[in-house]
Amino acid sequence: MVQWTAGERAAIQGVFAKLDYESVGLESLTRCLVVYPWTQRYFGGFGNLYNAEAIMANPKIAAHGTVVLKGLEKALKNMDNIKNTFTALSELHSEKLQVDPGNFQLLADCLTVVLARRMTTDFTPDIQAAWQKFLSVVISALRRQYY
């Protein structure tokens, strides 16, 4: 089981407290689709993904960004049992959406970069470390049902 120190819990909760799900979700997903264009393969039905401006203005991408952040919130609320909390989501990503799990890290990295941009010096190395640990536990849970 994952062990969280009090400092790590506080850091992660602190990040979420300042999080605007809609705009952070949209910007993270946009950056993922722009910086790693092959991820666009999963968004065929989402309309115009022609360039960064189009993606940022795309309401379906915005809606999906919020969905992703709400998923992370679920992990936050169940920090001591992320593995089981995400069983259904893991099955969804592997069986139905058929997303290559290597891509989870890419979206996670973009999310981290977006937080860094918004929080600037408040996104200290220690907070970054706690946040990335949280994301790696989420990713590991999402990967579990792939076989």
């Binding site: 910086v35 960064a52 981290t112 860094a116 941009r117």
Partner: protein, 141 residues
């Protein structure tokens, strides 16, 4: 592959980093050591505590090398040949670690570049760092 627009953007971005090379470089390294503690194993010969002289000096070297690469993107392999040999034969860093430092460089830039860190700039820098790391790892085997 970097487009010509991206190459120009990279030069502009890294030229601005030169005066703050110590700050940017040491912050990126510190972020990497904190988030990925295994990377510290390559630095047992240095004092890499926050703000140490070694950390700032080493950070500066990295940023200056990146700025040099940025100005010579079309001839990266030649420009970086000595560094490439150094990383392959002397340092022998496990190649997965390049990505970790690249990510922390991106996070550091995101903290400091503000609105200039657009998705397009982000993509260009990520591509540049990948190309740079590929050259550094070229001679590994």
């Amino acid at each position: 592959m970097l487009s010509n627009t991206e190459k120009e953007l990279i030069v502009q971005i890294w030229d601005k980093m030169i005066p703050v090379a110590e700050d940017i470089g040491s912050e990126a390294l510190l972020r990497m050591f904190t988030t990925f503690p295994k990377t510290k194993t390559y630095f047992s010969h240095l004092d890499i505590s926050p703000n140490s002289d070694h950390l700032r000096c080493h950070g500066k070297k990295i940023v200056q090398a990146l700025a040099d690469g940025a100005r010579n993107i079309s001839t990266l392999a030649t420009t970086l040949a000595p560094l490439s040999r150094f990383h392959a034969y002397l340092l022998r860093i496990h190649p997965t670690n390049f990505k970790l430092l690249n990510h922390c460089i991106l996070v550091t830039l995101a903290c400091h570049m503000g609105d200039n860190f657009t998705p397009v700039a982000h993509a260009a820098i990520d591509k540049f760092l990948s190309a740079f790391s590929a050259v550094l790892a070229e001679k590994f085997r």
